[in-house]
Symmetry: C2
Subunit: 336 residues, 2 copies
Amino acid sequence: MATIYDIAKKTGFSASTVARALNGKGYCSAAAKEIILRTAEEMGYVPHEAAKMLKSNITKKIMMCIPDIMNPYYFAMIHGAATTLERSGYSILLGYTMHSPEKEFEVLDSLKGHFVDGVIFGSFDYTPALIDAIEATGLPTVITSYYQSPSGFHGYDCVYVDQPQAAWIAATHCIEMGHRRIAFLGGNPKEQNTRERYEGYRRALEEHHIPVDKALVLHADFTRDGGYQAFYEFLRHGEDCTAVVACNDLMGVGCMKACSDFGLNVPNDISIVALDNTEYCFCTTPAMTSVDMLQGQVGEEAAGFLLDRLLEKRAYQKNMAFSPVLVERGSVKKLG
Amino acid sequence: MATIYDIAKKTGFSASTVARALNGKGYCSAAAKEIILRTAEEMGYVPHEAAKMLKSNITKKIMMCIPDIMNPYYFAMIHGAATTLERSGYSILLGYTMHSPEKEFEVLDSLKGHFVDGVIFGSFDYTPALIDAIEATGLPTVITSYYQSPSGFHGYDCVYVDQPQAAWIAATHCIEMGHRRIAFLGGNPKEQNTRERYEGYRRALEEHHIPVDKALVLHADFTRDGGYQAFYEFLRHGEDCTAVVACNDLMGVGCMKACSDFGLNVPNDISIVALDNTEYCFCTTPAMTSVDMLQGQVGEEAAGFLLDRLLEKRAYQKNMAFSPVLVERGSVKKLG
DNA sequence: CTGTTAGCGCGTTCAC
DNA sequence: GTGAACGCGCTAACAG
């Protein structure tokens, strides 16, 4: 691997002249520059990243932390972030926290090694301890959820879609279509994600004076199979409802399958609306109505926020919230 | 950010003693070690990655290049690779080549900056130029396809599933189920990926003395919508077949949708078998028969191969091939 | 066992 | 305009 010294030796210039020529800063005659650039090209010179980093403390890398790499929810987000970051020469380091708080702390702790310039952090559950760990990295960070620090002050930015609203939209859609017995298929109720979505569901019902029936509130794990199991069990126990709000597409798909295995036709016997609006919605028969969480936009904006801090040196905190949008397909039937 | 010098100053030891204490190499009294480790802890010391890299030329990072982050084919592969790499303290840098040869070259060229220790490279189309670029990085690399270098010699490892065999299995399954007019729904015929799969299809037909009908060979782009359009067009032109081999699940889903939009029932009017066996197969009605390409295993083994080179200093070339496996579901009907 | 010293490759003063 | 020299933080060889 060629260094600036090799180029210096070959051209007869000094290493610092080579350095100046190469990155265009500082004085350097056009003639010298010409020669140096050419021989750098010839020698296949590529600057040693580690050396640059050590000097500049700039890595041109962003860590993107996500809980689950198999969850399609994040694909569009990664895609969006990667695309906009790439435009400014940044690349993405994948941090894969496997839905585990320990893992999250571990990843965040390692970040103190200064091997990335910023962080996009996604989690199902933001606890004060997690937020502390995020702040402790000292890195520009944007989190992809809304989180109000207990102290009220914080340095990280938030880019997110309004989660309660998403579930509210889904539930309200069911209500407007004439449903009143509407099940809620969520994840772990301890986690912020499910709590928020449940809150939106609850509020929608409340607004229409429909009491929440605890028997209709199911908790699975955001997987297709989990959704299937939970809903099949629900049906087997003789519970009934005319519609269900599934907290993600995967569970929606599982739920739909459970219905069909149970002899129920969607949407004639039961309506389903899911959240996330991924490709899965197109695969089912009927195609699944779902609430678009604008993951791609979240990824893009999150990356934009980071670049703004990094490149433009923005020093104040900013939030950005998106309103999810309902995408109607064929899995909801109008009653009455 | 605390450095070993800060710790040295605070404890009264020299920087090198601190370094030795910290990474357990070289002599250091237990007493000194004790003090040093404690104050390092107190000061929240984390070694500066760039400095270590510069010295050791070890980054503990692997670049994983994939053509398309939205293609579910790669999810399991990333997952598998991430999981096994993580066990040895490596993390994944995502290289996102967007299905474009230029982008591939660009990424590979940047790799000369020594900011990763190895590469897992996935592409739809390995050309000699691409292979040259891979070799030029000088990095341990495993590619996730089979590729026979023109010269016959190469330094990179291959971990892959037998692509022709996958299509062969799919087509043979159709034939064994009594089908003889079997369509092939592939991607760009110029790309290795489609060429290989077509070859398997062709061979299966040949083995059963079924002539290949060019009218039944369709080319789309590996997307759901592309598959839909191509197959709908096919049906609209009045072509007919009793079964189709779709080169990936996404196109299989699109194809199935095209059939149903055209009033054809799957599997009664037409059978479909796809390749990839992703979650999408569970979403369709009926669930889609597909050939499992063992992407997870490929990811794991590719990572293992790399670790083997990196950690165990393996210096000889190795290949590993998996045989895909048919997963029967409900989209194929037995004829006659 | 510990401290001194000399780089790793690059960017950046500062004299010339 | 150009080159010499220093330092980023850490590791490793050597001397003590």
